[in-house]
Assembly symmetry: D2
Homo-oligomer: 312 residues x 4
Amino acid sequence: MANENPDEIKGLNISKDITIGEFLKKIRHTGFQATNLGKAVEIIDKMKLDNATIFLSFTSNMASSGLRDVFAYLVKNKLVDVIITSVGSVEEDLIKSKMPFLLGSFDMDDVELHKKGINRIGNILVPNNRYGHLEKVLQPFFKKMHEKQKRSGKMISPSELIAELGTLAGEDSFIYWAAKNEIPVFCPAITDGAFGLQTFFYKQDHKDFGIDATADMQRLAEIVLQSKRTGAIILGGGVAKHHTIGVNILRDGLDYAVYVTTAGEGDGSVAGARPKEAKSWSKLKEDANSVCVEGDATIIFSLLAFAMKGGK
Amino acid sequence: MANENPDEIKGLNISKDITIGEFLKKIRHTGFQATNLGKAVEIIDKMKLDNATIFLSFTSNMASSGLRDVFAYLVKNKLVDVIITSVGSVEEDLIKSKMPFLLGSFDMDDVELHKKGINRIGNILVPNNRYGHLEKVLQPFFKKMHEKQKRSGKMISPSELIAELGTLAGEDSFIYWAAKNEIPVFCPAITDGAFGLQTFFYKQDHKDFGIDATADMQRLAEIVLQSKRTGAIILGGGVAKHHTIGVNILRDGLDYAVYVTTAGEGDGSVAGARPKEAKSWSKLKEDANSVCVEGDATIIFSLLAFAMKGGK
Amino acid sequence: MANENPDEIKGLNISKDITIGEFLKKIRHTGFQATNLGKAVEIIDKMKLDNATIFLSFTSNMASSGLRDVFAYLVKNKLVDVIITSVGSVEEDLIKSKMPFLLGSFDMDDVELHKKGINRIGNILVPNNRYGHLEKVLQPFFKKMHEKQKRSGKMISPSELIAELGTLAGEDSFIYWAAKNEIPVFCPAITDGAFGLQTFFYKQDHKDFGIDATADMQRLAEIVLQSKRTGAIILGGGVAKHHTIGVNILRDGLDYAVYVTTAGEGDGSVAGARPKEAKSWSKLKEDANSVCVEGDATIIFSLLAFAMKGGK
Amino acid sequence: MANENPDEIKGLNISKDITIGEFLKKIRHTGFQATNLGKAVEIIDKMKLDNATIFLSFTSNMASSGLRDVFAYLVKNKLVDVIITSVGSVEEDLIKSKMPFLLGSFDMDDVELHKKGINRIGNILVPNNRYGHLEKVLQPFFKKMHEKQKRSGKMISPSELIAELGTLAGEDSFIYWAAKNEIPVFCPAITDGAFGLQTFFYKQDHKDFGIDATADMQRLAEIVLQSKRTGAIILGGGVAKHHTIGVNILRDGLDYAVYVTTAGEGDGSVAGARPKEAKSWSKLKEDANSVCVEGDATIIFSLLAFAMKGGK
């Protein structure tokens, strides 16, 4: 049977070794989520060709995983233009540039881990000293930001804060390269997580220190409004996803969207919402190119990253 | 076969009609998630008996659904002590006290909905005029908050803002009763959603208006630190869940936790993380009573709400 | 806000205690899967009013759970007309009429359970002696069936075999009542599971004993062809679901279908396929009343069972 | 940061193009399901090195997808020893060797497809003439099998039937190569699906034709009992999975198991059951090497197939 008909279901020829790039070109015809993976590659190609402003949105567990290193590569090489994420991503990216996270397993005994001072995220382990290190960086950092606030007379925005923090991170981190390459990292819930607890500790003695949550909307809105085209790669759900698609209402919707999620749409969650729902909201254009790939981003985005960098 | 052995699998006797309360008492022995539902009831009973400070955490799609009316009942009757949620919940609760959301279906044509000016959340429809109404409330409200900021010399916190907004909402809304009953509503991503876009519009002409994201940490931390016991009912994931369990690190963890989620734990997401993972982090005590019920909260929490109010 | 508009999203009024019947009548307006649960109730009411032949299809884990007792009630009271299931259901129903299954937990140590001779199905435990009992029943039973085969000169069909076995089961089992009430139990994979292994043992010394897999198609087809209307309640997926919808092709499709599943449709699995897909196949009529409720059947069907028996 | 520590979380280096083989070697350190994918590769390597008898189990939607071509390659090259699947796989493999399946989309209008005579499996389309072709092959084939039955005086077993059918299939099909290479294809529910309906039609005029469901247990049991080691690659759930692990009880369990599934374990389904549960049942050895990769097999197994063939 011929392989060449674009409308036929056809699996991969596995008789010879192929590159990821070749895999991604052929996988569309296997059906089901393989088709969606193949479509995602096509949409990424189009958004690059079209010089769209590319938003990369991800939840913090993605940064807990090795995808953080992939994000750093993409930001270093200016393959994305805007990042929208949870504050955990920023914390963990910073920590990892000093101390690695460790590989564990999903079914470890959490009470025993707790006794040993090891925190678990799925099958990833984060010993407490990582957070000790974070505290040691953040407290003097907040002091510096506080002084900046006092000098300027206005509270810092989350994206400025992250850019400043990026200069303290190692060269393997995405916030370092985001700062270097002036790629904004937006974080609509900056006081969640360890970061939030650290602001609480800092404020014990510095009541007037603050972060203006509203201060980033102007900057983010301008990017959206000044872009000729926008596209988004959205890994997971939560506030990172919602913020990314929500702000694109200002330009009547994204032109391109690739969602990667493990969530279904039956519970009305943002994580599970498919691109088509976003069209009703003007978050996606009526004729936008879009796809949702169902699967864990640690696998799916490790593949798609090669499409983003134009791998052969 | 006798029904009375606590260790035996035994289904419901459906020969006579029973109340939800009776259903919840018996369902534990059916196995699988029915067991977890039954355990959730037992844990809710315990946290109430123990006078734990009860955190209710939910994502905004829960407020899009009819659960919003259940939340309002719980807050009105002081059956919960703290709410942590996404800003969409606050927006939608306010809107609904004026104009209802409508029942649609999951497979509606979103391009057609868009042409008609109707936004879709799963099978729930929100015509654009709901957001027109929101804008009409929020712009003068921000002006009022801005004046308050100027008088006091400091930016408002998200929870204060929501309490003020609650006084403008109808009596069927949870923010109204939260304001009335001084039950704080925390919202760690206050500038997400329509709310965030409205702050952007307001700031066009009022550059100095702001919301201090860090301002709530003290208030939230104090609740956690001053409680003899804490328990949480957590519907869905996202920043609402993460913030709820995260702040309880300050007291070495929640004493009680009931999670309701549709997410699995295989992708390391916060939505899918089970209570045991939280123990490694000191977000849950080592010996905490906890359970995760897998299922859509519109069904699961509609049942559990009867346990919360002590239904027979 | 009024509750009465059928198009509005409205949660339950939890201020007073209600029965399951009342819950099911109101739950539709809560949105998301609650809506689907409410629709399922309406469809069940219609298929009963319409005197449709009702197929009940379930996977064997449902029989492992307490739902087995609910099934027995429904069959005893002739509230279903045909059962299509996996052979595990038949085995476990038989075992349970003698020895109960036990409540365990999902995270038990399986190596330790193995050492103790306890088998696990999710959070349900089945000590090895249950299978010892099954063997003691099945070996003489096969001998009896073998003799019947020799007398009649033809191999027995799966449904006849199960009806014969039903006469050996206790009065709390569905196969007992199915035999009594002449409700056929079809099992398209009769040699799977312990049952299959027992046929292997029996055939060591009785090579000519057999079960004609094709022998049930006539009986099943006639039910389908002679029914004025057909409806199906389908819990889970697998061969039980596929067989139920597949045979209805003979009459150009079911008139009514209620699916309950935890599976999504993204992988093309039968478990995840929604009713609409069945329409393309003539497995469901183009204008069939149908719904899929996403959730664990131990909760969802424990509720729906009250609709099936006409609970108030 | 060094990449070489086996215990550290580390993402892929995407700066250069790599082969699938290289991808699979590195992916383990990314965390979450990427880790499980990497483990699956290691286990496949081990079962091959150990000369284990390799069972490949899959549901019929896998054969609907392009994975069917991958299966054919593996069987042709004797990279698997036993196949256990649903009858739909056999039907579709046969059809595809004559007429391809087509690529559609998940959200097509099924009523319209029905009017056009096109059947849908997820995003895969099967026009009715494919089943017309199947009928034209099966009716004379059953006649031939019937004659064989009359000659031998005994009913054919499912695996013999499939081997005979394989000789009629094209060289791109797995049943062709299974017949050629004497790799048995077991099908515990041979009368499900179109195949079952075709036996019904055939039996209208040939009442004594039959298929002995019990006839394969001896053959399957012997393979299990005579193998020094057994390993299984199990895609999806259902009777194919259950039969594969169930029969390995006869040798106190598989030595190696790789599961690929989209199902969770919370509902006690066979699709969602993890390898550890199988240990309690002696379906997997206590010290077996095993892993479950969560994800759609069209992507996951398209990758793993390269590990099976020893891709670099």
